[in-house]
């Protein structure tokens, strides 16, 4: 799709959407949000960019992003097992004045999975359609 309007709008909107996606990821611990919805929003921004400027020339191995993401999430859950607690038990760490819940790391993993899986799916459909 070659449209000046879309390109101009995407240049402004996509970064804002990415920021909003990341914000959803960060506040997910105790407000509406989280890795899943944050990942979806971020992936949407990337797809908007693809629509406006064309997708990257080669298909990337998005599947590895899925593996990495689930790996991160699993490790945060297994850390609790090593400490003799039930799987997925979380704690709040303090980095100076900053509250750092370990569930954030879990959410980062989910975020990676959702972004990679969505982009892999969109990319596959894109190639099938063209």
């Amino acid at each position: 799709m070659n449209s000046l309007v879309l390109r101009t709008v995407a240049r402004v909107v996509a970064p804002v959407v990415v920021l909003y996606g990341v914000r959803l990821l960060l506040v997910g611990h105790n407000s509406p949000g989280g890795g899943f919805v944050g990942g979806l929003v971020t992936a949407l921004a990337v797809v908007l960019g693809w629509l406006a400027f064309g997708p990257p020339p080669r298909a990337r191995r998005w599947e590895r992003g899925v593996a990495l993401g689930v790996g991160i999430s699993a490790v945060t859950g297994l850390a609790a097992v090593l400490l003799g607690r039930p799987f997925l038990t979380h704690a709040v760490l303090y980095a100076g004045p900053v509250k750092l819940p370990t569930s954030l790391f879990f959410d980062v993993g989910v975020f990676l999975v959702v972004v990679s899986a969505t982009l892999a799916a969109v990319r596959t459909l894109w190639e099938a359609g063209s």
């Binding site: 590895r64 689930v70 097992v81 039930p86 799987f87």
Partner: protein, 484 residues
């Protein structure tokens, strides 16, 4: 205890690692190691569940019914152990004769399906059961279309469509139960359902039974099954044929023991069970291909398992559970034999095959033993399974259903001998090699029927204990909801 989640986490992580690894050999190494580890973990869980009644894991340390729990009782742990074993054996068969169009991601699908199955067996939360059903279905859609031919895509469509409908009914059923009781924790449900409004609970139980019935392929909901099992690579069909429908059977057992316990024979279910037996075996008689015959027999055998459940006594549940375990071993072995034939001779059509028993005496033997067991010939496990079910049926006064089940087992023998005369007797063919590893895989599941037939007392003790505990859901509920 974290042990309850090990049979889910191990395959999940194994699958992921396999997707991320670059070399084919490494992937196979990790895949087989992970499969073995999962077997060890789930057998250990059986021992734990036997000793402690219910092994509970409260995820994130949230108490039930607020958090999600895994509650591995003997029923769930036994299913998870046999499922892990089947997954490992069929994986070995695939290693022995790799499918030409297999790509690197299938390990991920294989282990994801195992994780989904084990999760469904072990979870103590109805909505979580739905989630694990979906996990296993997504993985099965992927495995079913492995090789991506146009025909596979078309046949898989029936399977995907019927499962989507079933999942939707399942979800509506869960929603209705939540509306009636205000909980999706199974232990909590079992305590509070008797007091809830029957106007909501009854349709909910019906919807759940239909949803699980589609997955278990009971009459009249089995139309998807013969389509699904014919086209994927042989070992995939063996994996599916062994386990996929049994997840549905497990869910039916859970529904009619823990959640909404039957007290005595349930006429509708008995009728459905008999019709499932009869229609399955009649469908099998009409087929001319090894794998198709075996697929229809799955349906017929599901009837016996549901019959055990429908009788509504602990003794009948134990018999049904014994039947499930016996059938998983036997059916997987038979489908692996058919996979070996198809991989080496390029066809499973009875017309095109003959004299396999001459060319491969051991293959003939490893078909004959499970085939006879399927028909219920002593001293194999199938004989005992039928004896237990028949005895329970007679005690409950269901003489007609018992008679039908005996007639069905004669017809089973007939169609097994059809395969044997068609494919295994006759003039010897030009001999093609069958790898030793494939034999090992067949023996791994096939030997179960011998072991359980000749010395299956301990398995009967296990299933009887599991059934007695199912008959007393109060203990289950107390352990799950009670203190730490």
């Amino acid at each position: 205890m974290n042990a309850a989640a090990a049979p889910v986490l191990i395959p999940l992580l194994t699958g992921l690692l396999c997707v991320a690894l670059p070399s084919r050999r490494l992937r196979w190494g990790v895949s087989v190691t992970g499969g073995t580890a999962c077997v060890v973990a789930s057998v250990w869980l059986v021992a734990l569940a036997r000793a402690h009644t219910v092994v509970i894991l409260r995820f994130g340390n949230w108490p039930a019914p607020f958090g999600i729990v895994f509650a591995a009782d003997l029923l769930g742990a036994l299913m998870s152990a046999i499922g892990s074993w089947v997954a490992l054996c069929t994986l070995l068969a695939l290693l022995a004769q790799p499918h030409p169009r297999l790509d690197g991601f299938f390990h991920g699908g294989w282990h994801l399906m195992l994780a989904g199955m084990n999760g469904a067996f072990l979870t103590g939360d109805l909505f979580n059961l739905y989630v694990f059903f979906e996990v296993l279905l997504v993985a099965s859609y992927f495995l079913l279309t492995l090789g991506s031919t146009r025909r596979q895509a078309r046949e898989a469509f029936t399977y995907v469509a019927s499962n989507l409908v079933a999942s939707t009914l399942f979800l509506v059923g869960v929603a209705l139960l939540y509306a009636a009781v205000g909980s999706v924790n199974m232990a909590d449900l079992s305590v509070r359902m008797p007091d809830a409004s029957p106007g909501l609970v009854r349709p909910a139980v019906f919807l759940l039974a239909v949803a699980f019935g589609v997955k278990a392929a009971i009459f009249p909901l089995y139309a998807w099954l013969p389509h699904a099992y014919v086209l994927p690579p042989g070992p995939v069909a063996a994996y599916f044929g062994g386990m996929l429908t049994k997840v549905g059977v497990y869910a039916l057992y859970r529904l009619f023991t823990t959640l909404n316990p039957l007290r005595g024979p349930e006429p509708t279910l008995v009728t459905v069970a008999v019709l499932t037996m009869v229609f399955g075996v009649l469908g099998a008689l009409a087929q001319e291909e090894v794998r198709r015959i075996l697929s229809f027999h799955i349906i017929s055998q599901i009837g016996y398992m549901v019959f055990g459940l429908a009788l509504g006594t602990p003794q009948a549940w134990a018999a049904g559970l014994f039947y499930v375990l016996h059938h998983i071993g036997v059916k997987t072995a038979l489908l692996l034999v058919s996979a070996a034939v198809e991989a080496s001779y390029g066809t499973g059509a009875l017309r095109a095959l003959s004299g396999l028993a001459h060319a491969h005496p051991f293959l003939g033997l490893s078909f004959a033993i499970p085939a006879l067991s399927l028909a219920g010939i002593p001293p194999l496990s199938g004989f005992w399974a039928k004896v237990f079910v028949v005895e329970a049926g007679l005690r409950a006064g269901e003489a007609f259903a018992v008679g039908a089940s005996l007639a069905v087992s004669l017809l089973t023998l007939l169609s097994m001998s059809k395969i044997f005369t068609g494919a295994f007797w006759g003039p010897s063919p030009e001999r093609e090699a069958i790898p030793a590893l494939h034999y090992l895989a067949i023996a791994g599941v096939g030997v179960l029927t011998l072991v359980w037939g000749l010395g299956g007392g301990w398995l009967w003790d296990l299933t009887a204990t599991a059934a007695e505990r199912l008959a007393d859901p109060g203990v289950y509920a107390q352990t799950v909801l009670g203190g730490r």
